[in-house]
């Protein structure tokens, strides 16, 4: 299932930062595949959502990029910048708190 963009929007940057904190450096296609494999194909990260998020994080100075010639083409790798390494901790905490609040709201039982 492709994730609803609206649902993904708020957490996509945190997901990317977290993946890069674990994997050191990744390229665009690899990120989409990693999300797919971790969620066993339940969640699909579309290119239309991934690239704007990657470029925004790079422009904000949270990601750094490097290029390498791989298999006859140039591949762009994304990695966390120093600022990004600091930000990932607070972003994760923020997301976890949001999820626990969301669970509270979604588990509401109708009152009699």
């Amino acid at each position: 299932m492709a994730i609803n963009n609206e649902l993904f929007k708020g957490t996509l940057q945190t997901i990317i930062l977290n993946l890069l904190s674990v994997n050191e450096r990744m390229y665009g296609y690899e990120i989409t595949q990693r999300v797919k494999s971790i969620t066993q194909g339940e969640l699909l990260l579309k290119e239309g959502a991934l690239y704007p998020a990657l470029h925004k994080l790079e422009a904000d100075g949270l990601l750094e990029t490097s290029t390498e010639v791989v298999d006859n083409r140039v591949r762009k790798y994304y990695s966390l910048s120093k600022e990004g390494e600091k930000k990932v901790v607070s972003k994760l905490q923020e997301a976890k708190e949001f999820i626990s609040q969301l669970q509270l709201l979604l588990n509401l039982k109708p009152t009699l």
Partner: protein, 224 residues
């Protein structure tokens, strides 16, 4: 399954013919599409290269690769906007502020020494023409990077400098120009120009790094 050099080149030409003319934009889309095609062809050994490309292209949705291109442009613009404003602010910090004030004061004194507004204007126009010639010469040297979006966006800041010049000249012509205003405007122009050059240099550097890799790939293709 790994795509051959010819298949990669075919894919690149397809992107170019689809309107993705900037090499850096092509490169980012190309790697993503090529990797996706390779995976499809690995999963299904009977799949042809062309079918793999078609399937991958349609998986991008109705906007196709345009969405990636748009985000690349937006990202580069955002990055260079930040670099430009950081550079401009940096020139106003304590390290350079004395030099900036001295430059403004020097322009003020030059006007005072020249004495006549018309003569100062002639000098300003002559200096600007010389400056334009130098800028055009420099632009010719970097024309090779015109095919890179990084260069195009980073270099665009230099185009806006003419707004400063127009304001300065319009003020000198239209009103009784005060020396102070001219000094401030020229000094700000200088700061703007230094910041713009700094951004353009960064764009050239990044474009050059990509060009070296692009040329390396093309050289390998020629050898086949």
């Amino acid at each position: 399954m790994q795509l051959t050099k010819q298949q990669i080149e075919k894919l690149r030409i397809h992107l170019e013919e689809s309107g993705f003319k900037y090499i850096d934009v092509q490169m980012e889309i190309l790697d993503h599409v090529a990797t996706a095609v390779e995976e499809r062809m690995t999963e299904n050994a009977n799949l042809t290269f062309q079918d793999g490309v078609n399937q991958t292209q349609s998986s991008f949705g109705p906007k196709g690769f345009r969405q990636i291109e748009a985000s690349i442009i937006k990202g580069i613009s955002r990055k260079y906007n930040k670099l430009f404003s950081n550079q401009f602010i940096y020139l106003l910090n304590y390290k350079y502020i004395a030099l900036v004030l001295f430059s403004g004061f020097s322009v003020y004194k030059i006007q005072e020494l020249i004495g006549s507004q018309d003569r100062f204007l002639t000098l300003a126009i002559l200096s600007y023409i010389m400056f334009l010639v130098a800028s055009l010469t420099s632009k010719l040297k970097t024309a090779t990077y015109e095919k890179y979006m990084l260069y195009k966006i980073s270099e665009s800041y230099l185009g806006y400098r003419d707004v400063f010049v127009t304001v300065i000249f319009a003020y000198l012509y239209g009103m009784n120009a005060s020396y102070l205003f001219t000094s401030v405007a020229i000094t700000l122009y200088g700061l703007y120009y230094i910041s713009a050059v700094s951004v353009a240099k960064q764009g050239i550097l990044e474009s050059r790094q990509l060009r070296e890799k692009f040329n390396l790939i093309n050289k390998n293709i020629d050898k086949i």
